[in-house]
């Protein structure tokens, strides 16, 4: 009995505490009239099992860019719709609910970067183990350079099946784009890289000088 009481108290406090932390992040950063509707949208997302951080970031972005309150609310609404679409794509492609929040964020990015939903589904189905961010962005990089989405997805899927590690998939698209820069057609570039799989040029790394000068972002100024 005592255990249930403790749990009930915790649940009673947890929701307003969580809401407090979202509001705490938004206060002073976005117009005050936008906070209640944005907060509601974030609560909806939470209840649906969708990731909330992308929505908080969208609101903060709007505030930083001095967008008017209605525009911020509309942008958060669009982002919420994108996450719902992403979840639907993942479920159609075979991911069992509850779908991982990071995967929904990744697929939302892929759709925003112009990948058609059927192509995203194909990549999700082929890359059975998350995270899929590298695979999605590798395909999207090629599509951004006007490669046919299906051909781009085909190459990245083949790279995955050939054992190219997740962290090297972006190097596959880089290798293709390098071939185009050398003067090959897109089809030739894809074929050249496909023939060489799973071998890839070594990834470019920052120079020692620039790494030596790297710094962590300074703390935000207190409100």
């Amino acid at each position: 009995m005592k255990g249930w009481v403790v749990l009930a108290c915790a649940a009673f406090l947890a929701v307003p505490l969580a809401a407090q932390s979202v509001r705490g992040r938004l206060e002073g950063r976005i117009p005050s009239e936008a906070i209640p509707p944005v907060d509601s949208l974030i609560q909806f997302a939470s209840q649906e099992g969708l990731p909330t951080e992308p929505l908080i970031q969208k609101a903060l972005e709007g505030g930083a860019k001095h967008a008017a309150a209605p525009r911020i609310v509309a942008a958060v609404q669009v982002s919420l719709g994108q996450l719902r679409d992403a979840r639907d794509v993942l479920v159609r492609a075979g991911d069992q609910p509850p779908v991982l929040p990071a995967e929904m964020t990744t697929v939302a990015w892929a759709l925003r970067r112009g990948l058609p939903a059927p192509v995203v589904e194909r990549v999700v189905a082929a890359v059975t183990r998350p995270p899929r961010a590298a695979a999605m962005h590798a395909v999207a990089d090629l599509v951004a350079h006007r490669f046919d989405p299906d051909s781009a997805a085909g190459l990245i899927i083949e790279a995955v099946r050939d054992g190219v590690p997740q962290e090297r998939l972006l190097d596959v698209s880089t290798a293709v784009l390098q071939q185009v820069q050398r003067g090959y057609t897109r089809a030739e570039a894809l074929a050249i890289v496909r023939r060489g799989l799973p071998n890839l040029p070594a990834p470019s790394k920052p120079t020692r000088g620039s790494v030596a000068g790297a710094r962590r972002p300074s703390s935000p100024a207190p409100p």
């Binding site: 054992g163 590690p165 799973p198 071998n199 070594a202």
Partner: protein, 182 residues
């Protein structure tokens, strides 16, 4: 070199870390044959393999304090050598991997079986050289060096399913070469 009766790895590591540099000779004598064999199969050249293994031993000596499990020194050494081989390979394309030196000159005393064995070895070596570095590494660690998949995971940092897939693909490629030539 007969290494029976020499101290176990954990004891040797403790001696070296206490300042007895000469004790590192035990480590070299115990493991160099296997590491040289592995590196030769990875790089296709005994000279390159000797360079890679020597560099690896020197590195291992200098970083011995970071070997967290002296009882698993062997795995740790293989890890250093696989990384060294990868660095060597990155500096030249796989297609340029030289098959070790010139093929052995036939000795009139060689039997028919010896010659057939030499031919077969050449075939297998070429097939190995045609594999991607990842598959070659996995096949050699598994079948030549006799590491378990768990040990291979510790050496390469890859997951066991990935390593199994690479070994399987390597076997398939090897078998195709062997069947094409029978």
């Amino acid at each position: 070199m007969d290494v029976r009766g020499t101290p176990p790895d954990a004891e040797v590591v403790a001696l070296v870390l206490a300042g007895d540099a000469e004790a590192f000779g035990f480590v070299i004598r115990r493991y160099e044959a296997g590491l040289l064999r592995f590196a030769t199969r990875m790089l296709g050249s005994r000279d390159a393999a000797a360079d890679a293994v020597a560099e690896s031993f020197v590195r291992a000596y200098r970083h011995l304090a970071s070997c967290r499990e002296p009882a698993r020194l062997r795995t740790w050494l293989y890890r250093i050598v696989t990384n060294r081989c990868k660095s060597h390979l990155v500096r030249r394309s796989v297609a340029d991997v030289p098959l070790d030196d010139a093929p052995p000159v036939a000795d009139p005393a060689d039997t028919e079986a010896d010659l057939e064995r030499a031919d077969q070895l050449l075939l297998v070596e070429r097939a190995l050289a045609d594999l991607s570095p990842d598959k070659r590494e996995a096949f050699v660690l598994k079948h030549v060096e006799g590491l378990s998949y768990e040990e291979m995971a510790a050496v390469t940092g890859e997951r066991i399913p990935t390593l199994k897939m690479r070994v399987h693909r390597a076997r398939e490629a090897l078998l195709k070469v062997l069947e094409d030539h029978t």
